[in-house]
Amino acid sequence: MKKPITVSGLIQTGVIQDNLTTSLPKFKGQSDFSSDITIQIALEQIQPNPYQPRRIFPDIELQELAASIAEIGLIQPIAVRKISETSYQIIAGERRFRAFKLLNKSEIPCVLFSCADADMAVMAIAENVNRQDLSDYEISKSIRNVENLFPSKTSLAESLGFQREDMYRYFAYDALPEFVIEKLEANPRLLSRNAAADIKRIFNKISPEHYEFALTAFKEAVALLELAEIDQTKIANFISLKVKHFSDGEILEVNNKKEEFFINNKKIGHFFSSHKGVEVKIAVGVLSYEKTEELKEILNNFLNSSSSQS
């Protein structure tokens, strides 16, 4: 039997687009009408937003906020939704809520909104995506968390106001090997979404027989990254070069070849090539000033002629 037709299927296969700019008039939402009446709600009746990606609120910040609230009062009420007769959930304003707790207040001014899970998730994430202090990896995890509240990735992207491209970058972490996910769990800033997407692209391109090799190269790169010896934006390139050399038939040793120069059995320097480049080192006093200039010129001519050839 033929497969049922679904909106998500039509979007995925590119039969229809979900990002046209011309659109039909909107249905007004409930909050488009809300008259924003502030009410006082007891702190113990209020629960945090389960979709809030930010779990850590630095003490200093909270104390500063509490101090300012103590001095001038709460300027903006927090937004909550009712989840039962006696309990509410924060839609926005968890920091203010925590500051109120610090101040030992018993209640806090709130505005009631009716808000579905999906909207709630979107608000919590949207509030945080542009913040400096939340890493791409944490955002990607919170997006994953709420993904099933939406009919499709596209509608999720739309609700969050992301470009689709960008959305897929956040999803790129999923394709990364286990070892790096473990590292990200400990240090979420290790790889940005762009770096993750680039690496994912490389892994998608390489043929299966090179996979193990690429994985080794990736591990090597991450080790270098942790030593701050390579920039995260260069990792994809690092892996791809290694794989390329490997598949071109060159072995690793060629790449890291070191040859030493001797005069009268005395070591006076070396030639070293690696993925970082080619290095020629010659000890002090071996070359006169003229010889040094000559060598520079030879190199210059050599480099210019070889680059004009290619």
């Binding site: 039997m1 033929k2 049922p4 037709i5 679904t6 909106v7 998500s8 039509l10 979007i11 039969v15 229809i16 687009q17 979900d18 990002n19 046209l20 700019t21 011309t22 659109s23 039909l24 008039p25 909107k26 249905f27 007004k28 409930q30 009408f33 009716s114 999906a118 939406f150 009919p151 499709s152 596209t154 509608s155 739309e158 609700s159």
Partner: protein, 344 residues
């Protein structure tokens, strides 16, 4: 009364039964022979209750109105009636008690189930509401026709005289809420059902408005072409207007959209689909109803033997599958419960 049942495979799917077929059969007391090995809506309901460990007679119905699904579109021929009847029969076969109200003077839902409004004596919803608002005697029971055994699918039929509703509604105070008040006043009766389905006419008038004002979420049935999108604009302004007028009373009407008539080789329907999903990404049901001959193989009006929904006539067709998938998602979307029990 219609004699409709589904075969083992669908019955198992509808009950949500994972075990073996003999185990499944043993859920039923009566010898299935007499049913040609088919399972009726009531069979499926009872099997579900049994698996939940609930004694049907022990069910206590809370006096609370069930969810209402009103099929709407400000344009004729978009499939409102086809889909309304289709969903109603599917939900009933999932074991839910369904009441259908034909809210269209054209009475096509009534005709879809083989009832000849020209010759039968029909008490329609307009008459019930009129008597209610004039505080006259009425009995809803007399207006209700059982279609599937055990009140699994009931219908309040309609006929051409329902057009009169608009003129008397005009003179009633808070006329938009007459239907809602009628339901509230008879909550004991309506709470017997797990869901109420209403088929509406395409017009924007007092009758279609009063049905919508009893709902939390209407079901907009869009036929995938340019014209239907124009009609969507009318529906949007209709809904926004009602919300504008009554939000201070705490009223808010939402919209869920189902796309109908998709045909892969007809490009305007892809454009229409793109416009729809771009405009209302969070309101569209993921199931798209295909353009299928099974829907059209209608139904010589008024002949009971030729009548029926696509699920009844061709339960294994792709058309029936689309209706089943759609109906499953509506159970979630509209929070439909089996006598107040949430079945997951």
């Amino acid at each position: 009364m219609r004699d409709f049942g589904v075969k083992l495979k669908l019955a198992k799917e509808f009950v949500g039964f994972m075990g073996s077929s003999p185990e499944f059969r043993s859920l039923f007391e009566k010898k299935s022979q007499q049913y040609h090995n088919t399972y009726s809506a009531l069979d499926i309901r009872n099997a579900k209750l049994k698996l939940l460990g609930v004694e049907p007679s022990a069910l206590q119905t809370e006096h609370k109105l069930p969810p209402i699904i009103n099929c709407r579109m400000a344009k004729g021929g978009t499939g409102k009636t086809t889909i309304c009847g289709g969903i109603a029969s599917a939900l009933s076969m999932f074991g839910y008690r369904v009441l259908m109200i034909d809210g269209d003077p054209q009475a096509s839902l009534t005709g879809l189930f083989g009832i000849n409004w020209a010759t039968e004596n029909i008490t329609h919803i307009g008459e019930l509401m009129l008597k209610f608002s004039r505080k006259e005697e009425y009995r809803i029971e007399n207006a209700v026709r059982p279609l599937y055994e055990g009140n699994m699918l009931d219908l309040i039929a309609s006929d051409i005289s329902l057009v009169n509703a608009d003129s008397w509604l005009m003179g009633v105070t808070s006329r938009e809420f007459v239907f809602k008040k009628f339901l509230d006043a008879n909550v004991e009766f309506f709470s017997k059902y797990d869901v109420i389905m209403i088929d509406s006419a395409p017009s924007t008038n007092l009758l279609t408005n009063t049905f919508m004002c009893a709902c939390q979420k209407i079901l907009a049935v869009v036929w995938l072409d340019g014209q239907s999108l124009k009609a969507m604009q009318i529906l949007v302004s209709n809904v926004n207007e009602l919300n504008d007028a009554f939000h201070s009373m705490g009223f808010h009407l939402d919209v869920h959209i189902v796309a109908n008539g998709y045909h892969p080789s007809y490009s305007p329907c892809k454009d229409a689909m793109s416009t729809l999903i771009s405009s209302y990404p969070d309101k569209i049901n993921n199931t798209v109803i295909p353009h299928a001959v099974s829907f059209m193989k209608q139904v010589e009006l008024f002949k009971e033997e030729n009548s029926g929904t696509v699920l009844e006539r061709e339960p294994n067709s792709i058309a029936a599958r689309a209706i089943i998938d759609l109906s499953k998602s509506l159970v979630k979307e509209y929070d439909i419960k089996l006598s107040g029990i949430q079945v997951i």
